[in-house]
């Protein structure tokens, strides 16, 4: 699988400067994304998943600021570009995002056509016919008919609105699409349809997805590789088989998360859970950030910082238990 890398992130740091202090929401994260693959990002709320997504588009929510690192898109550092250049060349052109609660991203007072057209007009010099053709093409691609263009958001169901937003994220033909909890507000049947749609699109358009969710069972269905985040850092990255396969994940956090995920076709007497809550990122614990909640904690875990290291090809873990030294 020597696929081309489309996105490389190196030591990315995003801090929120609040009155309580500096919140290290994304703390030195490095990963890369290959062509037409889906990278899943999982973690509890407050682990920095969404923050990382907004950082990739270089649009942190105030009082957040990117304080270090590199985001390499085809070898060029996005963070070095000016805001105008980012708007012209990066945002929506090469990386786009489907935001959390995307259904609420549509303006209720405009038709779908007007909203879609605005994005096109900002980015492309096109005749009206070309614009219409492109809008229709992408609506059909996500499984909607042309007459959706004339409708207002309130006339569409939740699933249809979600599809419109996905179409809008795709129709400038970006290389990377970040989906932040795209299915959380949807019913199971609609959720399955959206998941199928994303799988189809990945092959058809050769785009890469970053799929952010808190639900490990959805990641198992959509993601080729999974990145587990805890307290602003990466706890584990591995392929789908390495995380969900018979061998199981290596990091205790992933293991506990997986054990807490209910399964439909298995009878379980008692589901596991992780005691406690994720730490306050103003003053995170020393050493391994998971150690206060870890069930296999060792003495050195609270003392020494643990880095992300490879334990087998493509499988990186940040846990002292997995290393021999």
């Amino acid at each position: 699988m020597a696929k081309e890398r489309v996105l490389e992130v190196r030591d990315l740091e995003l801090h929120y400067f609040t009155r309580k202090g500096v919140v290290r929401a994304v703390d030195k994260i490095s990963f890369d994304l290959r062509q037409s693959e889906t990278l899943g990002v999982v973690g509890e709320s407050g682990c920095g998943k969404t923050t990382m997504g907004t950082a990739l588009l270089n649009m942190p929510t105030p009082p957040g600021r990117i304080v270090g690192g590199q985001i390499l898109l085809d070898g060029h550092d996005v963070l070095k570009l000016s805001e105008t250049e980012i708007r012209r060349r990066v945002r929506w052109e090469t990386i786009s995002m489907v935001f959390q609660g995307a259904m609420n991203c549509l303006t209720p007072v405009y038709t779908i056509k007007k909203q879609m057209k605005e994005t096109l007009r900002q980015h492309r010099e096109m005749s009206r016919q070309e614009m219409d053709a492109r809008m229709k093409k992408y609506l059909n691609l996500v499984g909607l008919s042309d007459d959706v263009l004339r409708r207002y958001p309130h006339e569409l169901s939740g699933g249809m609105k979600q599809r419109v937003v996905i179409a809008m994220a795709l129709f400038l033909e970006p290389k990377v699409v970040i989906c932040d909890e795209p299915t959380t507000a949807l019913d199971v049947v609609v959720q399955a349809q959206v998941i199928n749609l994303l799988k189809d699109l990945k092959d058809e358009l050769q785009v890469s997805f970053i799929f952010i969710t808190h639900d490990l069972s959805i990641e198992a269905e959509v993601s080729d590789r999974i990145m587990i985040m805890y307290a602003g850092r990466i706890a584990e990255i591995g392929t789908n088989e390495q995380i969900y396969g018979p061998q199981g994940p290596a990091h205790p956090y992933t293991q506990r998360l997986l054990a807490a995920t209910p399964r439909l076709h298995e009878e379980v007497a008692e589901l596991a859970f992780i005691p406690g809550t994720p730490p306050d990122l103003v003053a995170p614990p020393t050493g391994c950030r998971f150690h206060p909640r870890c069930h296999v904690v060792m003495e050195r875990c609270s003392r020494d910082d643990v880095g992300l290291r490879e334990i087998e090809p493509d499988h990186l873990v940040a846990c002292w238990r997995c290393f021999n030294d």
Binding site: V188, A220, Y244
Partner: protein, 356 residues
């Protein structure tokens, strides 16, 4: 032994839709048939699950049990008494007996109240306890019960100072204040992180055992329902289409709608990444103002035959062991299911269509 505590017979709730002038002059009325003839009986100490997609009437059913809404038609019995149209003192008593946990612990608690105020309020409204000291003792006891301890630390906190899980614990504590016998839990864990979901559910189950509670658990999540409930009812457009012990309904489901719901659930297993999920269902849920004739599921069903829309709607029939299903073709479906299980082939289901 098992005595029914709550019995619903043909429970119905229709909401009127605002009429246009033409409709008024013509004397036409349209209704949203949110709950359209639902019957069930819940035993004491049982956890009864209501599952379905949004808009299927599961929350409305919960509110009817609470008597937060007036019942349009049908009967509701509690402890053998008819409570369908009770008012005044009897209604107040019913509401003490039946309490509700709401989906969103953020919006169901007054942000200006401390946990103490939140928990004291039901006691004050229902004039329980002789004096403040007595109530305070009771509040502390309940806080320990839901494992918000030490109580002193939590009593003075406002809802925003609690984490999601703690807030849902406080909401559970509030329902327990009046010593109810039935608790309607409307999606109690859907807003909570996966890592703490199981913790809340096991706490709820422990309380149920200790205090002999009966739960009505309303959810759209079949996986937690399987783990948590004893008996499960699947609702579609205001009607129960399948009901029975949770394991049986999930593993041997007979209604095409239940099969679609189960097919749509994601499971944390490897090797499914590039496979397209088979969801045996067509189209989208119709509006509850315009319920299809005959079997209300037929436009989306892959098994439907002309009788399904030409004849009257099928009713729930017992297929053994308390497993009930409302489908004309359940025998055919069962045969196919059995054949599929033995030959290990998947049920002959087609991919869901994307047409809107």
């Amino acid at each position: 032994m098992t005595e029914p505590i709550l019995v619903a017979e043909n429970l119905t709730k229709w909401f009127p839709v605002k009429r246009t002038l033409t409709q008024i002059t013509r004397g036409e009325r349209t209704w949203v048939r949110a709950v359209d003839g639902v019957s069930f009986s819940i035993n004491k100490g049982e956890i009864f699950g209501l599952v379905g997609e949004s808009g299927c009437g599961k929350t409305t059913t919960g509110k009817l049990i609470m008597k937060l809404l007036d019942i349009t038609d049908g009967r509701l019995h509690m402890h053998g008494d008819d409570v369908t149209h009770i008012q005044g003192a009897r209604l107040a008593k019913h509401r003490r007996e039946v309490q509700m946990i709401f989906q969103d612990p953020y919006s169901s608690m007054n942000p200006r109240f401390t946990v103490r105020d939140v928990l004291m309020e039901p006691l004050e409204i229902h004039k329980v306890g002789q004096n403040l000291q007595e109530r305070e003792v009771w509040v502390r006891e309940i806080l320990n019960e839901v494992k918000l301890s030490p109580p002193d630390e939590f009593l003075v906190r406002h809802p925003h100072m609690l984490s999601g899980g703690q807030r849902q614990r406080a909401a559970t504590a509030r329902t327990l204040m009046l010593n109810p016998s039935v608790i309607v839990a409307d999606e109690p864990v859907s807003m909570i992180d996966l890592s703490t979901r199981a913790e809340i559910l096991s706490m709820m189950r422990q309380l149920q055992r200790e205090l002999g509670l009966t739960y009505v658990y309303i959810t759209h999540d079949l996986s937690t329902a399987r783990y948590f409930v004893d008996r499960l009812a699947v609702m579609y457009l205001g009607k129960i289409v399948e009901m029975g012990p949770a394991g049986v309904v999930i593993d041997r489901c007979l209604h095409p709608y239940t099969q679609a719901l189960i097919g749509a659930v994601c499971e944390p297993k490897s090797g499914r990444v590039n496979q397209i999920k088979d969801v045996p269902i067509k189209g989208e849920i119709p509006a509850a103002t315009n319920i299809p004739p005959g079997c209300r599921f037929h436009p989306r069903c892959l098994f439907s035959v002309p009788e399904c829309w030409e004849e009257v709607e099928p009713t729930l029939v017992d297929v053994g062991g308390g497993h009930m299903v409302a489908c004309r073709r359940h025998e055919d479906i069962e045969k196919r299911g059995a054949a599929a299980r033995t030959s290990d082939a998947s049920l002959g289901v087609r991919r869901s269509s994307f047409e809107a």
